[in-house]
């Protein structure tokens, strides 16, 4: 007999269920007054487990105030919550009010919620932060007993996690008895998450509850005709076979690694969709309405397949999905499991998944992912110190709620795990930044946003700064976007301004599953019309997901362990055997560098397996060094597995190109010149509250009225390079955009690990990398001036010499 109250017992019994072990363990933790981390696979009844103690408490001791706060990374909570919370509450007839509060909630409802909060409030970190900026938050949250954080693995080690952690520290002050509960998919190291959840690092205060493992997933690698192509990275060649699988299953999700690939694969599938099965597309750039339509159609079982990206990695669960297809490399075992978890939400039945590798390296990666899943191995999570721009935003929110003293604020901030070791001096700089921008030149003391009074209390200087904060708060900063529209006004979604700028009228691109022709740009809209002409691919900014370190390790071992090869398909086996005969297959701890001539160029291929982002950075840096060494580099290409450079003169001493001092010298210089840092700066400037967000539709006509953060960056770098925001941007650029951790590890040890093989011709292993040349656009070291000169010449040629360059005199 369980420890549930009778009404819950009856409800479980009425459904023919018994509460699961981990659901009861969550209840035990609650009765002991402990916080808890529940780690369980998808389909284990996690959400109900998280809410169960609150339901029991509310049945046993009904209260009218806010009792439980549920925080999810997604706005779209409706489906899951309906199934796991509202239905039980309705069926038991419990007098518990449950409401949501997100950016989409009406202002009437928001105001009402602050006066009369529901017992259970479902929200996001951003909306919670806004709630905490109101003076009445102290009363609203005083009765709070539990905070439940769903999908904590998806955002704890990120800026949104930083914000949530800070919010928890404040909630704990308002409601000292509040318990913290987090729900997570299976993670590599639950201890890290317990530490994050506790705030103060007291692991003993957080019970670890582990759910039972579900049935092992049924994952296979799809090889059309048993062959793996030499090159490519999308699995597009397998469209027909994927279509057959869609036909053979009830509902499938086809995951793609990028939005542009999703568009292409959607086209490919339509081309072979002879039965006209209903297939949809879903990615983050599509219009919200279009996404919601696709989600609704999936929920109702009206779609047979949905082509999707990471936009579906989280949250949205549909019971009827019975197949997940991963197009291209899986990148990591946790990510693969997360995606597979979208299929079949019954623990006792295996989820079914297919991986379609795009080339032979991707085959090895797919096999590595299968092995890792079987071995229960997860990708490591990297927790880093809390971001300073987020802290600045949080301090402004708390200042809006109530006056504070410096010391009390610092003590509270340090109760948030990511900020537990925040130096006092850094805190003061952030406080100064919030007050006046934090400039060494104290020009803005008269414009202070928050002011310290003679009583030692900091207060907001004017109510308009509070309104300004609420309008601009938030952690997600999108690139400047244009809306893609038909002439009749119908919007299809959004593309990055940079991509739109590269389009001219009559250019074509795939978007939202359609081939579109550009008519022109007007204001914030990119006008298009449907066309039957073939299309270019949209490119979306942002770094790519690199192969995880544990999968990379496994692939390294595959190369060196021929005893593994018999389970590979014949062409992969032959490929590795030929490499062994013609070059070498390095030991896992060695770094193979091949050099060879081909068609008048000299190639160098480095098999470092550190992932696309680190390789892209390294390619830039190494070609610079080659330039300095007079090797006349022409360009490079990077993949998740290797980098290839090509030059007019041969590389004879690779070790000299890969020395660790590259990080101290060229790296810093390169990042500062590149657009990476400017992109990072834009984000920290918005989050930190230095500049206001541009709200869609509110931008004034003409761009001259808005200032660009690039210009601010240039001025700041010139006059105050040590400024807090430049430091924050630098941290972001290093961590997220260049993968400097992996780059550093590679360079620190490269000199001792290099095995240089000088070949007469291209090696088998090099082929999948070299075929990327000419596909990836690389303009290494090309100055803007040179591009402008080239553009002028092109224009002049196209215009029949009408615009001859002016000659200097």
């Amino acid at each position: 007999m369980s420890d549930l109250t009778p009404i819950l017992d009856q409800w479980f019994a009425g459904r023919g269920w018994t509460p699961r072990r981990h659901q009861l363990a969550m209840l035990d933790a609650a009765r002991a007054g402990m916080s808890a981390l529940l780690v369980a696979p998808t389909g284990a009844g996690k959400t109900l487990a998280g809410f169960l103690p609150s339901l029991v408490e509310l049945v046993e001791q009904p209260t009218d105030g806010l009792h439980t706060l549920y925080v999810s990374p997604l706005k779209a909570l409706a489906v899951d919550i309906q199934r796991n919370l509202m239905t039980p509450i309705e069926e038991m007839g419990l007098p518990i009010r449950v409401e949501t509060r997100t950016g989409d909630t009406s202002s009437d409802k928001k105001a009402r919620q602050r006066i009369k909060p529901p017992q259970m409030l479902l929200t996001t970190p951003e909306s919670l932060s806004l709630l905490l900026s109101y003076p009445d938050s102290a009363e609203m949250f005083a009765s709070l007993r539990t905070i439940v954080i769903d999908e904590v693995h998806a955002f704890a080690p990120s800026k949104r996690g930083d914000l949530l952690s800070l919010c928890m520290a404040r909630l704990q002050r308002l409601a000292p008895d509040m318990r913290r509960v987090a729900l997570s998919a299976t993670v590599a190291d639950p201890t890290l998450y317990r530490g994050w959840l506790s705030g103060d690092g007291d692991l003993d205060s957080v019970a670890l509850v582990e759910g039972d493992a579900g049935a092992d997933p049924d994952i296979a690698i799809l090889l059309p005709l048993g062959r793996v192509p030499w090159a490519g990275h999308s699995g597009r060649y397998a469209a027909e076979q994927v279509m057959q699988q869609i036909t053979a299953h009830t509902t499938s999700i086809i995951f793609c690694n990028t939005r542009s690939l999703a568009e292409l694969i959607f086209q490919d599938l339509w081309a072979v969709n002879e039965q006209h099965l209903p297939i949809g597309i879903h990615h983050g750039s599509l219009d919200r309405e279009a996404r919601e339509r696709a989600e609704g159609a999936m929920a109702d079982g009206r779609l047979r397949a949905l082509v999707a990206t990471a936009s579906l990695d989280l949250g949205v669960d549909w019971g009827n999905v019975d197949l997940v297809v991963q197009m291209g490399a899986p990148k990591g075992s946790s990510r693969l499991l997360q995606r597979i978890g979208r299929a079949n939400h019954r623990l006792d039945e295996p989820s079914k998944a297919l991986i379609v590798p795009g080339n032979r390296f991707e085959y090895l990666e797919a096999q590595a992912a299968l092995d890792a899943v079987e071995a229960g191995e997860r990708d490591p999570d990297i927790f880093r110190p809390g971001a300073l721009d987020v802290l600045a935003q949080h301090i402004m929110a708390l200042a809006a709620a109530a006056p504070f003293t410096r010391d009390a604020m610092l003590a509270e901030i340090r109760e948030a795990a990511p900020y537990s070791t925040l130096p006092e001096e850094t805190f003061d700089r952030v406080l100064g930044f919030v007050a006046t921008g934090g400039y060494a030149l104290r020009a803005y003391d008269k414009y202070q946003r928050i002011v310290e009074g003679p009583d030692g209390l900091w207060r907001v200087a004017h109510p308009r700064f509070i309104a300004q904060h609420r309008l601009n708060a938030g952690i997600i900063v999108e690139a400047a976007m244009l809306t893609v529209r038909f002439r009749n006004g119908r919007s299809l979604g959004r593309v990055e301004e940079g991509f739109a700028a590269s389009l001219s009228p009559k250019d074509t691109f795939f978007f939202s599953g359609l081939s579109l022709e550009v008519e022109g740009v007007k204001g914030e809209d990119l006008f298009v019309r449907a066309t039957s002409r073939p299309a270019r691919i949209p490119t979306y900014g942002g770094s790519r997901m690199p192969i995880s370190t544990n999968l990379a390790d496994r692939v390294r071992h595959f190369l060196h362990e021929p005893e593994q090869w018999p389970r590979f398909p014949p062409d992969v086996r032959e490929w590795l055997e030929a490499q062994r005969d013609r070059s070498i297959l390095p030991a896992p701890d060695r770094l193979l560098v091949e050099t060879f001539p081909r068609e008048g160029r000299h190639y160098m291929v480095v098999y470092s397996f550190e992932g696309w982002n680190a390789h892209q950075s390294l390619g830039m840096l190494v070609t610079r060094r080659m330039e300095t060494a007079g090797l006349q580099p022409i360009g490079f290409v990077a993949s998740d597995y290797a980098i290839a450079t090509y030059s007019l003169k041969p590389v004879t001493d690779p070790a000299a190109l890969f020395s660790p001092d590259i990080l101290d010298n060229e790296f810093v210089e390169w990042v500062q010149e590149s657009s990476l840092l400017k992109r990072a700066f834009r984000e920290v400037a918005v989050i930190g509250g230095l500049v206001e967000r541009q709200h869609p539709g509110k931008r004034k006509t003409g761009r001259q009225v808005s200032f660009s953060t690039d210009l601010i960056y240039d001025v700041l770098r010139r006059y105050e390079p040590e400024h807090l925001l430049l430091e924050a941007a630098w941290e972001d650029a290093k961590a997220r955009m260049t993968d400097v951790g992996r780059l550093g590890r590679l360079l620190d040890t490269a000199a001792d690990r290099i095995e240089h093989v000088d070949l007469e011709r291209v090696s088998p292993l090099a082929v999948p990398v070299l075929v990327l040349i000419g596909r990836e656009k690389v303009a290494a070291g090309t100055a803007d001036d040179a591009l402008l000169i080239e553009a002028e010449a092109l224009v002049a040629e196209a215009m029949g010499g009408a615009a001859a360059p002016a000659s200097p005199n």
């Binding site: 030149l441 020009a443 200032f707 105050e720």
Partner: protein, 224 residues
Amino acid sequence: MVRFSFAGVELAALVPGALGWPARRALLVADLHLEKASFYAAGGQMLPPYDTAATLRDLAALIESTDAREVWCLGDSFHDAKGCERLADDARALLRGLTARTQWTWISGNHDVAAVRLADHCGGHVVDEAEVDGLLLRHEADPCETRPELSGHFHPKLRLSLRGRNVARRCFVATATKLILPAFGALTGGLDAGHPVIRAAIAGRPAEALIPLADRLLRFPIAA
């Protein structure tokens, strides 16, 4: 410095986005937008308080390197009417030094038209517009004007993309009788050279975007 001919007058396009007039030893700049950052700071957006210093330092260097005797600022020299009152002491000293050393004229723009005490604060003298050796100098181009005219106001910028890279650069916009200068201020954004409001200002006439490099002047026809 690259010289070119405009309406029969030899001018020089300077890399930072300024115009030289060798025959008069004159320097022309548009849209300095001094004290833009402090304007926003007063509203709660604490932009770096270095834009005035950066702009004036660049301008002083240019006056020095071109040995200019005359300086013409084609309007919107300050971001707002009170901007000249907010100048920090050292910036004010630098600016007064420059206006004292040269024949300095402030042409009023839409942002600073109400700055009645501009000359008191900064030196130089203020006019609405001027005619100099047959060229009209004003803030905003007049589409109906038939005489040769130099102006600012629009902050023209050329954006183009080649081989997957986007480049944006401040540029001049030139027709046979109109020359629109790029903005010179450190914190001034840009408006696409082909933007409809610029096309309207030049009355839809054929135009080129001019981008000076160190040793040549690039010309890009602006699509009609």
